[in-house]
């Protein structure tokens, strides 16, 4: 990309605006974008929790009990709650991206966005269902 920025210096009379640091607060769609970017921090947080959990699991039943106690800390419960909402948001926006990136045609007709995103949701539901089933059987 060869921009004409160098050339522009010689046009001191052009008026240029700077994008403000708070640009993302100007519009709901921008804010939504920023929240989605932010959600990756919480996805990372979940990964860390999972790793800690695995670590505790390896440390034997005692270590695992201790880990479970630690999870009951109100601060962690709140943090986990917020993370859950962000991860949910992350997943939904990610799933809805599929029809944007992939054009699926059936007999020459482009499938509607909803139908292209649907398999994602179906898989999500199925896997969640399986996990719930496994948990219930244990409990």
């Amino acid at each position: 990309m060869k921009p004409s920025t160098a050339y522009r210096q010689y046009h001191p009379k052009w008026y240029r605006t700077r994008v403000s640091t708070l640009w993302w607060s100007r519009r709901w769609s921008y804010l939504k974008f920023m929240l989605r970017e932010l959600s990756s921090v919480f996805v990372a947080f979940y990964v860390v929790i999972l790793l800690l959990q695995l670590h505790a699991l390896r440390g034997g039943p005692e270590a695992y009990l201790e880990f479970q106690e630690w999870l009951k800390d109100p601060l962690l419960v709140v943090l986990n709650g917020i993370s859950f909402l962000f991860v949910l948001f992350h997943a939904v926006t990610w799933f809805n991206l599929t029809p944007k990136a992939m054009v699926v045609r059936l007999r020459g007709k482009r499938l509607p966005n909803l139908l292209v995103a649907a398999p994602n949701y179906a898989a999500w539901l199925a896997i969640s269902g399986l996990i719930v089933f496994l948990l219930m059987r244990q409990g």
């Binding site: 990309m1 004409s4 993302w24 970017e37 944007k100 990136a101």
Partner: protein, 247 residues
Amino acid sequence: MAETITIEVARYRPEQEGEPTLQSYEVPFSKDWVVLDALNYIKDHVDGSLSFRWSCRMGVCGSCGMTVNGEPKLTCATFLSHYLPGPIRVEPLQNFPVVRDLIIEMTDFLEKLQSVKPWIVREDDPAPAKGEFLQTPEQLDNYKQFSMCINCMICYAACPVYGLDPQFAGPAAIALAQRYNLDSRDQGEQERMDVLSQHEGIWGCTFVGECTEVCPKNVDPAGAIQQYKLAATKEWFKSFLMPWSKP
């Protein structure tokens, strides 16, 4: 019903002021008037020094893009009645340098557009023996949506990535590259990929998605960019797994 409506227009006269100021005008209100009609009324009857671009007044030429009450709009397709009781603020498109009043400098966009070769590229240059390349309606359908672009730059005005980093190729240029890539008569995909697989190309896009929301022609540039990313990733994997295969 209101008889008149107030239009606040951004004025910038570089020979007399250092930054834009707002000037208010009262114009007659008519329910079938668009913002561009109001501007033309001002130009013809109130203040001939007001400068702005327009041509077709029917959403075809793409030259009348401005910021209306903070949103990038084609002013010939934006009705006054939508903003009752007013006032309506009209400013130049965001993210571009302002030359005068509502006129922005668009060389940067034109250069980017040209860099992606928005025309049919053929390796076998001589025209086909039968006089034209044939194309089925399905093949046309593949790229038709992206071909509706009128180069109005409204998507650039809505794109925060372009605002923050003017090196970014931007929505319309990428959508138009994709328009030709998807054309069955075209053979220039690789050349365009060389330009657009750079960081300032498709990877600059963080998928805010606002370009698609504001496009007056339903081009869906955000979709084009994500499809492009997918294609680039596939190609990268292929060259990684099968380095001997020619792209």
